[in-house]
Amino acid sequence: MLTVENVSAWLLAFAEKLKEHQVYLSELDTAIGDGDHGNNMARGAKIMEEKLTSQTFNSVENIFKTAAMALLSSVGGAAGPLYGSAFLSMGKQAAADTNDVAAVVKAGLEGIQKRGRAEAGDKTMVDVWIPVTKALEEGALTKELIEEAVLSTKDMKAKKGRASYLGDRSIGHIDPGATSSGYFFECLLESGILKE
């Protein structure tokens, strides 16, 4: 079950991880994008932390909404609206039901796909969100599954986003958006939410 406390902890851990891996994420993006994913996400993470720690929340929806607005206003590029859309959709679903974590994550995936129109296999963050959603529905999310999903983007040819401009040359590089999404779900596992 999602609560104000555990969602807040989940998002703050995610922010921490983004800052920690800032350089790595930008390196991944330099290979197939414009090299700013790490810097952009770290900037967003700092703003998200500020907004989440400077006020108290009365609902899970409000936490997601606040996190979404923090990222939307600070990340830029494509990642801002994609994560922003995910968190806004997750907030709406959480307002309806905080018990079903899989449904909340699924709503996030739908938000991302509505915004970015990416499908499975396009070498985007969606390639992590889809298997994770499925695993959550089956109660079988593991760290290994997340890592595999992130790695699976390596051999894909990008069909969406800036990396798609590279065509075949995008093959052989892990997608940075998939990587940051991997961190998001590692934080979900580590938060203990799924055991509660």
Binding site: M69, L72, S73, G76, A78, G80, R162, Y165
Partner: protein
């Protein structure tokens, strides 16, 4: 990197301040955002909002003013502005008749502007969009996000701006915009790269005697690299590319726009225009509108782009020539 700046991280902020100061008779900056909006009220008229990353000056704030854009939103250099700022621009541009967004076809721009559109609709503002994809250099395929939006965008601003000023409805502006975009084609060439201040080194490399056809306004790869040639031959290459797209015939009416990328002097742009004119007049095209200017730049990239717009409707010529009060369009 050799640039007249203070610090790479201050480029955006200091540029906006300088711009707002210089053009204070026409536009105003919203707080500390990248939003520039016109002082002209335009009550009851549809508002036009455009924008994108910085580094393309005078696009887009240079086209804010009576008869053109209501507001422009500038992101960091070559980075889309964020949805909250686009949303602020939409609110400022809404004068009761709705707002039309003019978006260049880049993944980031499209997402951020569409997100802002959702936010505006949620607040009850009538808003629609057109997406400019005039660059024919990169072929459309499943593996690209379609065609890029480049210099032709400025002509879209101009035509829609005049139509909006004359009281056209949001619905009709959207239709007109789509029609204009369909008839606007651009292709470019670069002879030296641009350096994003925060990156500190050129976005691509070209040997001293090399040029690249079809390069994007962020230095994205073009379609062919070769030894630099005389202006006439470059004109011939770009025109033959455009001709494949446009299939013009004798007597067709066109507008022609030679756009500088930032590092190419007007002298060269005029030489190039002269070549374009000589080649195209042989095909019997009639030019109702001509323009040479550096309107959609790529920082200090040297090079140019050639835009042809098929003037399907006489009214478009009138819109292109309609008087405006902006910082950049003359």
């Amino acid at each position: 990197m050799k640039k007249i700046i203070n610090s790479p991280s201050n480029v955006w902020e200091e540029m906006l301040r300088g711009m707002a100061f210089t053009h204070s008779d026409i536009l105003e900056r919203l707080g500390e955002t990248g939003v520039m909006y016109r002082k002209y009220e335009g009550q009851g008229k549809v508002g036009l909002v455009s924008g994108g990353g910085s580094g393309h000056e005078p696009s887009h704030a240079g086209f804010v003013g009576k008869g053109m854009l209501s507001a422009a939103v500038a992101g960091e250099v070559f980075t889309s502005p964020t949805p909250d700022q686009v949303f602020e621009a939409i609110k400022l541009a809404d004068k009761g008749a709705g707002v039309l967004l003019i978006i260049k076809n880049y993944t980031g721009d499209v997402m951020n502007f569409e997100m802002a559109m959702d936010m505006a609709e949620a607040e009850g503002i009538k808003v629609d969009k057109v997406i400019v994809n005039d660059d024919i250099a990169v072929e459309d395929s499943t593996y690209t996000a379609g065609r890029r939006g480049v210099a032709g965008t400025v002509l879209v601003h101009k035509i829609l701006g005049a139509a909006a000023e004359q009281g056209m409805s949001l619905e009709d502006l959207k239709k007109l915009g789509d029609k204009v975009i369909e008839n606007t084609k651009t292709v470019g060439v670069a002879i030296s790269p641009a350096t994003v201040p925060a990156v500190g080194k050129p976005g691509f490399e070209l040997a001293d005697d090399e040029m690249e056809y079809g390069i994007g306004i962020h230095g994205e790869p073009g379609y062919r690299r070769e030894k630099i040639k005389p202006s006439k031959e470059i004109a011939q290459e770009l025109i033959s590319r455009l001709k494949e797209e446009c299939n013009w015939k004798e007597g067709d009416r066109y507008g022609v726009f030679v756009n500088g990328m930032g590092g190419t002097p007007l002298m060269e742009l005029y030489i190039f225009m002269n070549d374009v004119q000589e080649i195209l007049s042989k095909d019997g095209l009639v030019f109702d509108f001509k323009k040479v200017a550096s309107y959609m730049t790529s920082i200090e990239m040297a090079g140019l782009s050639l835009t042809l717009i098929k003037l399907e409707d006489e009214k478009w010529v009138e819109y292109l020539k309609y008087p405006v009060e902006t910082a950049a369009w003359v």
